[in-house]
Amino acid sequence: MSTSQPARHARLQSGVSVTDLTAARIAAAGATRTALHPLRFTGTELVKIARLPLVWAFVAVFALVNLMLAATVPANTVALHNYASAVTVTIGGRTGTDFSRKLAQVDTGSVKSGNGTVADITNDTAAGGTTPGVPAATNTSPSQSTAGTDDTAADSTAADASPTQETNATDAIVITARIPADSTLTDDELHRQLTAVTAGVTNTLASYDPSPMRDAMLTQVAGDPVATWLMQRKYDAYAARVTHLTATGAAMDLAAGTATDDTLLHWSRMTGYLFFETCALAVLLMALALGSERTSGTEQLLMTTRTGRRLTAPKIAAGLIATATAYLMLVAAIVVPYLMVFDVRGVWSASVSSQFNTVFGQQPFITWWDLTIGQYLFVRLALGLAVTLCFALFTAVLELLIRDTFAVAGLAGVAVLLVIGLVGAARSLGLPWLAWVGGFNPVGVLLLREQWFTELGLDAPTAFWETGVTACSLMYLTAGVLLARRSFNRKDLK
């Protein structure tokens, strides 16, 4: 450093000379500024959300609730479900004469079916004799490995072991069923119940007449030509679905036999809680994503940088990603214990329109396209995710416009209650258009969650109503976010 230079080159008290700083400045200035793509900050925004203890507290509480829910199923229901599933895997899931014949060949005898044990079958089908010489096995809990049991060689079968193949009427049919240790149903009882419920089943859809339901719905909208036209189209499509499913024999699928309704109701209840949790989390996560800078006092700093207000884009993206991630985590908290308890191999491949799955025990469960039970549960979860993302988008709109996290949470809650009240009142008063318009949003879709992808009665004027409303909601809420961002860009940030 030259000491002959003017005072501006004097060494600062810190010991760093201004010349040093000038050199650094020139070095930095020489490099051109990078093009700014705000979405590159999405990862940083995600980390900010992930660092908030409140987020993890909510996720943990909800996951715990889900785990407890998934585990609270009567043991006998599990036993019925898993026995039916094992039978399906072994001898097929389409009820009828052939199925009944093969089921009759399963002779539990003195052997209790249990985890990893074997229900062996004698060739002596005419005498209906029991299986000789196979020792009784210990009935173990589903979580235990079969390796430790002291039974026959067939003990090598684990709970999810592949069943042996049926050969012909003279060969033994091996069934491995995962039965909870606390089930009070014996193997004989399980077999007896399954035999009783599958004996003489017919294709119930062949005799199902959707006309009375159609006529009842048309009566509800009589006098309204547009509503009448919509309902006619819907029930014409419904009738075509009944015809199609009759031809495919979907009603003949075993599913979980008598446990079908109970287990699917259980799943419906679990996912109902799940949707409430994830929608609440969506509001929280998006509110935090967009409002955290205000609470930390960094908003003025960040909004005056070159990126500035465009930072809302990565914040919204981070909020959506965080919402989807939380959703998947909470789904896992349901699905993982469910799969540990329930043997779904045979059940989930059955048609969801099986006669053993009904709408409130009264009418067949007819979906708008062919779905197995597993596929139905998957698309149900997929639609739930889309609805949850709608809540996140709605929160983003409110946050950008109102810029007060508490007010946003309150408004979101009020909006939900308003929709519930409006739709409920419209239904009670027999005002279908009010219900349809008032329910044309994610809350309205959630109110119909018990029967998604079915005809939905007077609650839906068209087929795929819940899907269409969700898709439209995603679109108009996305448009709302874009408009809200434009408004935010012109808003005073006090």
């Binding site: 201004v18 003025q300 005056t304 940088t305 990126t307 005073d492």
Partner: protein, 293 residues
Amino acid sequence: MLTVDNVSKKLSGKTILHDINLEFDHGVYGLLAPNGAGKTTLMKLMTTLLFPDTGAIRLDGEDITALGERYRGQVGYLPQDFGYYPNYTPRQFLRYIAALQGMPRAGLDERINTLLDMVGLADSANKRMRTFSGGMIQRVGIAQALVHDPRILILDEPTAGLDPKERVRFRNIIHSFAANRIVILSTHIVSDLETIAGHIVMLRDGTVFANAAPADICKSMEGKIYEVPADMPLHFGQRLLSEVQYGGVTRLRIYSPEPIAGASSLPAPGIVPTGPVAVAPNLEDAFLVIYGG
């Protein structure tokens, strides 16, 4: 040049600024006014946090709102209430701000090291800011305003929380940067402005009351500032500004629109004056006279 053309602003129905006209060229500009006079509002208008109700703010003739990113990339801002991320270290924080400013990574670490050394935080560069004192946080704030080498520095109460040594360091930093840059700062510490500001803008009732060099502002008070004995009664029009201590003797510094008869000039250092003495006005005197003591 940054110009404020006929800018007015209302907030919550109250007029904060009315028909403000200012020009800022290279150098240090001090915004001097009491709380609530509109300093922060004016700064927020210049940083695009707020939008003028009427008028416009222009950089080299172009409206800063229309310039958008091109303007903000040239501005370094330190807000009055500076927030931070407690889990971040200063180095992480400066990297983040630099990324938001579109700074290339090449040479960035060297620049951050230089800045942290300049504000006296080199030893704390990798410590989480939740452990920092208010003064240390403020220094991080100063560093982040400089990280992208802005053409315009807008600092709202930058010396708040700084001890005297740190304030001296800060003044030196500002001196070095202001040669060919615009620095606009607001502070209640009048002495800071006296030493570093080449230009003072005083706001009153939402308008520009004065806009001149400190010496010129003080010149308008010449012959009107006196030190008088504590027991001397004040006459009509005279106002008490402050008290002055000479060892155990208290004297009063007053403003008198009319000359005081018998007033002498300041005696030699070490001698305590007895009667009224005419003294040279300073910026604090001007502040107290204009805004009321």
